[in-house]
Symmetry: C2
Subunit: 154 residues, 2 copies
């Protein structure tokens, strides 16, 4: 899956089979990536569309994809990071790579839907949504040079 | 939606429109129904199948349905409850009734998938999964007299 940015975690999660319907783990208090509970919410993303670039100054994101498939691109431009200027790509998809992606504050991130259906993303966050701690820079106005058309396959 | 059991909450939630993909609220710290954070997980349920009856002695459930549609039946047999012997039915479905169903400890509950596709259920719980505090009694062995074939329409 390419480089790994310092502080980013990809934690495989269990899906427990049941003939009536399965159980899928998300997060327990104290799990890897758990900081505190502030807010949990869903985002959806349509196939081929890109939500990028976003950076949080305080929020740690814990991301799970129970429907569809989502490709994430992360970029570290923290000046004192041991992985400064490193990109990391991760695809989350139930059944293929059902995992929790933990992104600490200070990392640029973007994502795109890569399944035909709408993909569903859950974010378990340590603080509540606060526009003041969130930067949003459109792809075409960003300093980050990245070609979203080079598709990473799972 | 019929009777309302003491302590049960149905809290409408916002879905915020976005052309790339919407945002759906689930739970913020301090929201109605919030007690504490212990664990959050998904269950799925297939169309027409029933997961019932279940009762927790300590866990408060906070349930959200982002995919499909789920019919819940709740039954209160707490001897000192002001709604003792009351049934309550709730249907959760994104787009139709996107809401959070809060079920306090001591209430019997069951649910069934009522959309053709598999339905997805999120439970935001105040404690971690613990089989000791959970009773599971199959429908056919329960003292609860309820005809699941009488379908509640949303």
């Amino acid at each position: 899956m390419g480089s790994v940015i310092d502080g980013v975690l990809v934690t495989p999660l269990k899906e427990i089979e049941n003939p009536k319907g399965n159980i899928l783990h998300i997060m327990k208090k104290g799990d890897p990536g758990y900081v505190e509970f502030g807010e949990v919410y869903f985002s959806t993303i349509h196939n081929g569309l890109i939500k990028a670039w976003k950076r949080h100054s305080r929020m740690t994101l814990n991301l799970v994809c129970p429907v569809g498939a989502i490709r994430f691109v992360l970029y570290d431009d923290r000046p004192n990071s041991i992985t400064s200027n490193v990109f990391q790509e991760v695809v989350l998809a139930r059944g293929k790579n059902y995992a929790r992606l933990t992104i600490p504050p200070g990392i640029w991130m973007g994502f795109t839907g890569i399944s035909e259906e709408e993909s569903l993303l859950l974010n378990f966050a340590d603080i509540q949504h606060d526009p003041v701690e969130q930067e949003n820079v459109p792809v075409e106005k960003s300093h980050i040079i990245f070609d979203w058309k080079d598709k990473l396959e799972l």
